[in-house]
Subunit: 203 residues, 2 copies
């Protein structure tokens, strides 16, 4: 089943399975409207209307984080450590600042200088980068709507997205992230592949 | 001599030698005002007033390009080829679009989908990514001023920045990129380290 593509105003986009978690959430709650974020390597922001996905956008947040940490100068001053919520919050603020998209290329260099000038310790730089990218993603993904965003994520990402959304004044609610099976079932049922009774039997 | 740092409104920033090219340009032309871009791994946008550097910003354009091409999914569909000015121009347009900084994380994924859906051939995807990042950088770097930007770059980057600036309606002039020696001399002279006569003797 997995696979949806979408031609938005700015670019085409594609999902490869994440939509099943959305359908799972709709099936579980009976909702037919809403917006959702599925954070990850390629975060998905999804708007649902009338029980269907009406638009979505992908952000390369997780993959850019890993590429920056492991393959650019930004990783050099980073030290392994426990998470630093304060550094993360500073990153969120920097990333969410209004400006052109290109400002992100500048703010990323700020991870370097924050380390060089001792504004953030090496132990906090990875979280600063994480906050910067997640803050930038959320500020853009949530723009233009005041509707609460449903976060469907693993525990660690869930906490980061919830903290960043709260900091940016964006209403958010955390949803069950184990919705893929329910979603597959809902899709199968809609397609007439399974009877409701079979599903109830634990298929 | 090399090394300047600057505490801007959004973040601190640092140069490690690029300033000598700026001073070289000022020494060569007698200019005391202007704005300049030195494209590269870490592009520098520099504003000069009264013969001094008054502010500058770094953009990680070149390094993010390399990290994306070599260490993310975006490189997968790229094919080696001659440059594709058309793909580059489409990238510039996508990158310069107004929006939050986080929109760049979304537009980057558009390099993937442009390849997946055949909107841009594999041979043009690297140039599309290049245009996306350079367009984003220029739109942000040049924001808020109509003054012509002096481009101080290698031949290849010079062409890309000139094309992107022209496409975005930003006045730009190409300057001699081999100004570092003249800059070092100008700095040394200002510091009283060299007499004008010694300089004239070909030091």
């Amino acid at each position: 089943v997995p696979g949806v593509d979408f031609a938005g105003a700015a670019m085409r986009d594609v999902m490869r399975g994440e939509e099943t978690q959305i359908f799972g959430e709709l099936a579980r709650t009976g909702k037919r409207e809403g917006r959702f974020v599925l954070p990850g390597t390629h975060s998905k922001w999804v708007r649902v209307g009338g029980g269907r996905i009406v638009e979505f956008s992908t952000y390369m947040t997780g993959e850019i984080f890993a590429a920056c940490r492991n393959h650019t100068i930004l990783g050099r001053l980073m030290e392994e450590s426990a998470t630093s919520p304060a550094a993360f919050a500073r990153g969120v603020e920097a990333g969410a600042n209004a400006g052109h998209p290109g400002a992100l290329l500048n703010r990323l260099f700020g991870v370097r200088t924050a380390g060089l000038f001792g504004e953030i310790p090496g132990s906090g730089l990875a979280d600063y980068l994480s906050g910067l990218l997640i803050g930038a993603e959320i500020a853009d993904g949530a723009a233009g709507s005041t509707e609460a965003v449903g976060i469907i994520a693993s525990d660690e990402l869930e906490g980061r997205y919830r903290q960043a959304a709260a900091q940016l004044g964006i209403a958010a609610e955390v949803l069950d992230s184990d919705l893929a099976l329910a979603g597959q079932l809902a899709i199968a049922r809609a397609a007439g592949l399974i009877a409701a009774s079979a599903e109830g039997a634990g298929l």
